[in-house]
Amino acid sequence: MNLNIDVKQPEERYSVMTLEGEVDAFTAPKLKEELLPLTEAENALVEVDLGGVNYMDSTGLGTFISALKSTKEHGSRMRLVQMEDRVYRLFKITGLTEIMEIDTSVRGGM
């Protein structure tokens, strides 16, 4: 399967990344390449819209963990929105919901 990555920058230091497809061992390197640089600017806010992601495996999680570490290092923020139930379960089991900014008020794919 494929992953489409779309990045918009409505304001300076605010980017919105919209993902569509599967985040797995095959697509994660591409995601990492696009996502990490966005987190490297001080005070930047990166919003990742996961509404179109129907599957994520642990390699995908690893990419978000890298991004989280990078936000801490660079003083930026990352927010995940529109997560589908199946993907949310993965973040929940791994304890990542406790340390990541995840907007659960808007959930995708329900």
Partner: protein, 336 residues
Amino acid sequence: MNTLRLDLENYRDLLAEYIRTKDERALYQAEQFSKQSMQQNISPEEIINVHLRSLQELYPELPDYILDSFDFLMETMMSYGLAYQEFQALREKQLELKSEISVAANMQKTLLSTTKPEIEGLDIGALSVPAKQMNGDYHHFVIDDEGSLGVAVADVIGKGVPAALCMSMIKYAMDSFPELRMDPKYILGSLNRVVERNVDSNMFITMMYGMYNTEDNTFSYASAGHEPGFYYHKERDEFEEISAPGLVLGVSPDSMYEQYQKQVDEGDMIVLLTDGVTECRKGDDFIEQEEILEVIREYKDLPSQEIVENVYKYFERLQDFQLRDDFTLIVLKRDV
């Protein structure tokens, strides 16, 4: 006819025969000829050269422009020849790598091997099958000074060689813990510090650590973001999820883990697994938790080792015998 060699005479005769008879047998010989040429590392332009010389012998009156065109063709084929040589070299290199990986896989097997202990009153079954050569799942049994059983099930994120190397680190960290009884929450806490300091930022490990106390038949456990297991109550004939909140190992240096305890009654069963089991796909669909439980329920009265083997066979069939992820399943059953 068996000793086809790339000599002019042979090729010339074959060519002459084909031109005369248009016989398929000669074509077949040509095919054999090309296979043998490959084996002997004979380049395509050399074959063209042999073809040209055969033609010259068969038809001495060939016009110059035909001869010239062969020079042209030979030049054109040159880079094919080079590419083929390169291909051969890569193929040899690949064989070399393959054998190195299988040496590494064997080493991993030896390093990470764990013996399923025999404990009176507890029936243990364990099975771990890698999807590729190297296993990113890990399980470990240890019996402490007081006779309690420690059991760890872990999954390294990332697959293949890096995951396997990471697993060896975990194994050594666990071996270096003191022999004294340690609570699951402390074990996970110290492993987390080891992993956090030593792995790449996009790597992490999930682990469920349990301790079965054979004196009072309690099972204490803690989880670092690991796939929930199941607990089977014999009396109520019911499964429930065994889960504990906790962050995966290697993300945050000061993670704390909570520990839970269960009283295990006769005939009760603890099932620990990795997400290779729950992430199993049926075609494009994922398997539901109920289906896993149904399968376990079907075999629950067998000895533990037979339970894990039967469940594995079921999932293997479901995925057309092609595991997508490493598969690990452990069953601890208190004997009746």
